[in-house]
């Protein structure tokens, strides 16, 4: 296929010894009329090259803000961002946009949720792909067009020549998301964010897009952060999963460990409230009582305590820290983690 055309780009920087991405105590607060919204409230993790991290949470958990905060895509005004994001050892928190622009699209890229709105409606698809290429790689217009063509076929778009000349609205949702992926991988980034990349798509198309993301990620040895609310989406496609609640990571573990040995009551509740295809019809669902947390005046102690079935006074007053990783690399923040024996997730399917 087209490997040569971007070989030069993906092989530019020699890998340094530092891990690809180290996020340390990242906080992102929004200033609003009603108070400070703690959308991301102290998140830390490390991501190695070529690995996949799934970030799972419900709406309001801060997962989308986290992705954009790491990438520096949030507006500067009314946003407080602190902590540290080191990309190959380079600190990105506090970097100005002109520095970030060298990373954006080149070193790190993002696929957004809604392919309908994330492409410029009045610009041809080809232009939207070559634009980024020509910004970062010093190549001719012709060369860029050739590369775009190769990219489109590599993301599985038939008749790429014709598609290049089309506008986004002339394509189906699945095709548009493929174009978005082509744009994101164009310059051979080392880190790809996929923010709910399939939520706006139909089930059958969703599977195709997830497969595509996975093959591209492996072929190009990209690290990927897959943000989603759907535990099913991350289950078979990630190396590690972080579960977010109220702006914090409440549990983080290698994917297989998390599903077989979950410790945080929120993860447990989340898993058991999803209807399972394998359960018989009319199976009574387990629910999580209460409401999602208020991010302006979050509850004291453990943020999940007001909704937690196991909560005690200690939970309501003292906030549990994220534990150090155990031998499996499993971390969780809970005073009274779910006991292995009490697990009710044997039939997770």
């Amino acid at each position: 296929m087209s490997a040569e055309s971007f070989a030069e780009s993906s092989a530019t920087t020699p890998s340094s010894d530092a891990p690809l991405l180290v996020v340390n105590n990242l906080k992102t607060y929004f200033k609003t009329d009603r108070g400070l919204v703690r959308a991301v409230d102290g998140v830390s993790f490390t991501l190695e090259r070529g690995r996949t991290l799934g970030v799972v949470g419900e709406s309001g958990s801060g997962k989308t803000v986290l992705a954009r905060s790491i990438m520096g895509l949030l507006p500067k005004r009314d946003v407080e961002r602190s902590g540290s994001v080191k990309f190959e050892g380079v600190e990105l928190v506090g970097a100005d946009n002109s520095l970030m622009a060298q990373y954006w699209g080149d070193q790190m890229a993002m696929v957004f949720q809604d392919p309908m709105t994330s492409l410029n409606p009045v610009m041809r698809v080809g232009k939207q792909i070559t634009e980024g290429l020509r910004q970062h790689l010093d190549i001719s217009k012709d060369h860029a067009n050739q590369t775009a063509l190769a990219l489109l076929s590599s993301v599985g778009i038939p008749e790429p020549e014709r598609r290049l000349r089309q506008y986004p609205h002339e394509m189906s949702g699945g095709m548009r998301q493929r174009v978005m992926i082509a744009i994101a991988i164009a310059c051979g980034p080392k880190l790809l964010f996929a923010d709910e990349p399939t939520t706006a798509l139909d089930v059958t198309v969703q599977a195709q897009i997830l497969d595509l993301l996975q093959t591209q990620q492996r072929d190009r040895y990209m690290a990927m952060i897959l943000v989603t609310h759907d535990l099913g989406v991350v289950a078979g496609r990630t190396d590690e999963i972080a579960v977010m609640y109220a702006g914090k990571i409440v549990e983080k573990a290698p994917t297989k460990v998390l599903f077989s040995n979950l410790r945080h009551p929120y993860t447990e509740a989340l898993l058991s409230s999803i209807p399972k295809i394998s359960d018989p019809s009319h199976t009574r669902l387990k629910t999580i009582g209460g409401r999602p947390p208020n991010l302006i005046n979050p509850p004291t102690g453990c943020k999940f305590s007001p909704r937690c079935a196991y909560a005690t006074d200690k939970c309501r007053t003292e906030e549990p820290p994220l534990s150090a990783p155990d031998s499996d690399g499993h971390q969780f923040s809970c005073w009274f983690p779910v006991e292995l024996s009490a697990k009710q997730t044997s039939g997770v399917r």
């Binding site: 993002m110 957004f112 709105t117 410029n120 009045v122 002339e170």
Partner: protein, 318 residues
């Protein structure tokens, strides 16, 4: 595409017909007999002859048909008394008004677009708030107030520029032309700047919040390019339409401004015709303005569907 074009064109024709008919009907609704107004002291015989002459004894629709027939053949009628042809008047006054409006439109957009783009980008900053507050005040400043202020100070008090002018055609003497045009153009332009700037600003702010702008940013595209290449085009589509529709306000403004400065344009001629009760002439003027207005908007409508690919191929996708 052709089908929509035809449909829109038919609509245009229909609107013009209805508009001219309503205008025509209005002249018939007026109290009193026009003949008595033209020759109040004429004999009964003279009046009857004039009635005959003007075709006033025919049914309204016939009169309208006759007028329309003449109008379509380019005969816009005559003034009652002087028998001066409306065509001659239009020939000299319409270009003046068009020049005035074109200048106003051009300068308004020239100033408003960069202002709109930069304030949208720096929305909430001191610069933005300052520009915005100024424009908000300008919106409340009727153009006759601007015109009168200019006339009082620049014209009367400081005598920097001539008021009560004769417009020198541009090809004859560009400098004179501009000297006479400057104040009318400024009076007409100020309010338009505010309208366009605020519109573009709010559209740009909305566009800048769109996902595809984040996509462009995430591609590493420089801000300048995002603003001018990615955001301006989708935002300016609304501006384009409004600029077309705004021709209506511009015409109204031109009438007022021409009167304040005595610019011999169509607006001045219209008000003269009103005061002299020159109804046939007036009717042609109104018809010409309506046609001008509807045609400009027709053209913009077409231009719009050419510029916005979503509309251009709406049918092929659906």
């Amino acid at each position: 595409m052709l089908r929509t074009f035809t449909l829109k064109f038919l609509r245009l024709v229909l609107v013009v017909l209805v508009v001219t008919f309503i205008t025509f009907g209005l002249t018939k609704l007026q109290p009193g007999d026009p003949v008595s107004k033209i020759i109040p002291f004429g004999t009964a015989q003279q009046k009857a002859a004039l009635t005959q002459d003007l075709g006033l004894n025919e049914p309204v629709y016939q009169q309208y048909g006759k007028w329309l027939g003449n109008f379509l053949q380019g005969d816009f009628g005559k003034y009652y008394d002087s028998k001066q042809s409306v065509n001659t008047v239009i020939k000299t006054s319409l270009p003046v008004s068009l020049e005035l409006m074109l200048y106003a439109q051009f300068f308004a957009l020239l100033i408003a677009i960069p202002l709109g783009v930069t304030t949208a980008y720096r929305a909430g900053s001191k610069y933005d708030r300052g520009a915005n507050a100024t424009m908000f005040a300008l919106l409340a400043l009727p153009n006759f107030v601007v015109a009168l202020l200019l006339a009082i100070y620049v014209g009367a008090k400081w005598q920097l520029l001539p008021t009560q002018s004769n417009v020198i055609p541009f090809p004859l003497n560009p400098l004179d032309n501009w000297t006479y045009m400057l104040m009318p153009v400024v009076a007409l332009t100020l309010g338009q700047i505010a309208v366009y700037m605020r519109l573009l600003r709010s559209d740009m702010i909305a566009t800048l919040q769109e996902d595809f702008i984040t996509t462009a940013k995430a591609k590493g595209i420089p801000t300048r390019r995002i603003l001018w290449r990615h955001a301006l085009r989708p935002s300016s589509l609304t501006l384009l339409t409004v600029a077309g529709l705004n021709v209506g306000a511009l015409i109204g403004g031109a009438i007022v401004v021409e009167n304040v400065f005595g610019v011999p344009g169509l607006g001045k001629r219209i008000t003269e015709a009103i005061l002299a009760k020159q109804y046939p002439a007036l009717q042609s003027y109104v018809a010409i303005i309506a046609i001008l207005y509807v045609t400009v908007n027709f053209a913009i409508d077409i231009l719009y569907s050419v510029l916005d690919p979503r509309i251009r191929n709406a049918r092929s996708v659906a």
